[in-house]
């Protein structure tokens, strides 16, 4: 599967993550990073700015 990510962007993201990869690992990773991008698009819905994440929490009695 051809990837939409540029080589420069790919190298930047790998470096930013602090990973040191072989050329073979990079080549394989390029075949799946569009799959990640598709997942990231799929979780975006028109929900407005007020929609809370699942990890929003409140203080319980035992926290006080």
């Amino acid at each position: 599967m051809p990837t939409r990510i540029t080589d420069d962007a790919f190298e930047y993201l790998i470096a930013r993550a602090g990973l040191t990869l072989t050329d073979a690992e990079k080549a394989e990773l390029k075949t799946v990073c569009d799959g990640i991008a598709a997942m990231a698009e799929r979780v975006r819905k028109p929900r407005g700015r007020m929609a809370e994440p699942a990890l929003t929490y409140g203080f319980a009695e035992e926290d006080l």
Binding site: L19, V32, A38, M39, V43, R47, A54, L55
Partner: protein
């Protein structure tokens, strides 16, 4: 069922009546390990001396004052991501092959307190992810129904060991299906409880907000017995729920007349079409539930792919956060599959993660609304029978949306129940999903199904 492999319920009854000795039972399990595990690779480490010592102690206590409960003297195994004091806990990884914890995980502690006999530590996928892998210090577990085939994972050793009768029950963990998948492919029962019901303390994380610990055994009744010992509040786990614990076993046997079961047809018929054998198992199970008096309804949820995208993004990021230090400094020491999973995190931004967590709230609300008026929902566990072990795709997360991940995303209790055998003679399963903390209902329906069918009578033939 083979008379040589009792369920926990059967063994407990015989032990209480002093017709079965925990030492004899443990020795029988050890003999099966010696005979089978060179082919199954279910154990990373066998604790034979400890098991015999614990069995002797259990026997002495039972002879003196009777069993303390149904798990007293029962041989068990722990997935090797569960910390065990003074016993190596490796996570099946080169990185931890010499790791000796100085304390027990809460689940190990609770099972020990219930009087179980620890047979050893069980094979997993490295850090409970990826797999099957052939480049780790230990080989992957093999399916006891056909050793050329996969067990699923990551509680692979637990699935193989329970199905083959090397142990009567074991601990599994489940971040996206790691209890239910091996339970399905190995033909046993496996329950992922509600998030927070069973403590995660002392268990290596895969993804903090998706991780669940739960029982794997031959029957739903045995899972109920095990869950009774495992459930309960633990201040060592920040996600631990503080709720009253019902009597799970007492909920069994009352029939399911009038209970309402919703079927998520589109998950397994459209979103990810299952094999003919798995579909037959689902259709026949629905007919059985109708005969038992349950009402069947149809349930519509967001596409399976939405749930899987949400869970996968969360899982990728939380795993990468947990193992970032080693990923940056010792990446080549991970096996290939775990290494690849860790690399994926480079392509998920902070905003991507949080959009997934916002989506999670919406999806959970959707499931809650869909289950109003229902007792459980039903779908597949896996798309078919166990594939060949050397034919498991590395990037299946992008190719085959999981039927199990939705219920890690929601945190709802979900169980794999054997629903027959496919064209290849290997087990297939249905998944029953309950409302939060309604494990008793899930177990009741699973138990009724097992007792109405003959699938619990059939063990892998070589045992």
């Amino acid at each position: 069922m083979s008379t040589t492999i009792p369920t926990i319920a059967q063994a407990a009854k015989q032990i209480a009546a002093k017709q079965l000795s925990p030492v004899e039972l443990t020795q029988a399990c050890l003999e099966r390990v010696q005979a089978l595990d060179n082919r199954l690779h279910a154990f990373i480490r066998l604790t034979e001396e400890r098991a015999l010592a614990e069995a002797r102690a259990a026997e002495a206590a039972i002879m003196a004052s009777g069993p303390s409960g149904p798990l007293h003297g029962i041989p068990i195994g722990l997935k090797d991501i569960v910390d065990t004091k003074s016993i190596a806990t490796t996570c099946q990884s080169k990185l931890l092959q010499d790791n000796i914890p100085d304390s027990d995980a809460t689940c190990a502690e609770k099972l020990a307190a219930a009087g179980t006999v620890l047979m050893g530590k069980l094979t997993t996928h490295e850090f409970a992810d990826g797999g099957p892998s052939f480049d780790l210090p230990w080989p992957p577990a093999r399916n006891p129904w056909n050793t050329d085939h996969f067990t699923a994972g990551s509680s692979s050793g637990t699935g193989a060991a329970v199905a083959s009768g090397m142990i009567l029950c074991g601990i599994g963990t489940d971040t996206g299906g790691s209890i239910r998948g091996p339970a399905a492919l190995c033909g046993i029962a496996g329950l992922k409880p509600t998030y927070g019901l069973v403590s995660r303390a002392g268990v290596a994380p895969a993804a903090f907000s998706l991780d669940h610990i739960g029982p794997m055994a031959w029957t739903a009744e045995d899972c109920a017995i095990m869950l009774q010992a495992l459930a309960g509040h633990d201040p060592r786990d920040p996600a631990s729920a503080n709720r009253p614990i019902p009597d799970y076993r007492a909920a069994l046997g009352g029939g399911i007349m009038g209970l309402k079961i919703g079927v998520i047809h589109h998950f397994h018929e459209t979103d990810h079409k299952v094999s003919a054998g798995t579909q037959h198992g689902i259709t026949a199970a629905i007919a059985t539930f109708r005969e038992l008096g349950a009402e069947i309804r149809e349930v519509q949820l967001s596409p399976l792919q939405d749930w899987v995208a949400c869970g996968s993004l969360i899982s990728i990021v939380e795993r990468a956060a947990a193992y970032e230090e080693w990923a940056r400094t010792r990446l080549p020491d991970f096996g290939e599959r775990m290494r690849s999973r860790l690399m994926l995190s480079a392509f998920v931004s902070g905003v991507d993660y949080l959009q997934a967590v916002r989506r999670r709230r919406e999806l959970r609300a959707e499931l809650q609304a869909a289950m109003a008026g229902l007792d459980v929902v039903l779908t597949a566990v896996l798309p078919g029978e166990a594939p060949k072990i050397d034919d498991v795709p590395k990037w299946d997360v992008f190719q085959q949306p999981s039927f199990m991940m939705p219920f890690n995303v929601a945190g709802y209790p979900a169980m794999s129940v054997c629903s027959g055998f496919g064209a290849g003679g290997l087990p297939v399963a249905i998944q029953l999903v309950g409302k939060p903390f309604q494990e008793a209902t899930v177990l009741r329906i699973a138990d009724a199904f097992e007792k109405a069918t003959a699938f619990r009578d059939h063990r892998p033939s070589f045992t």
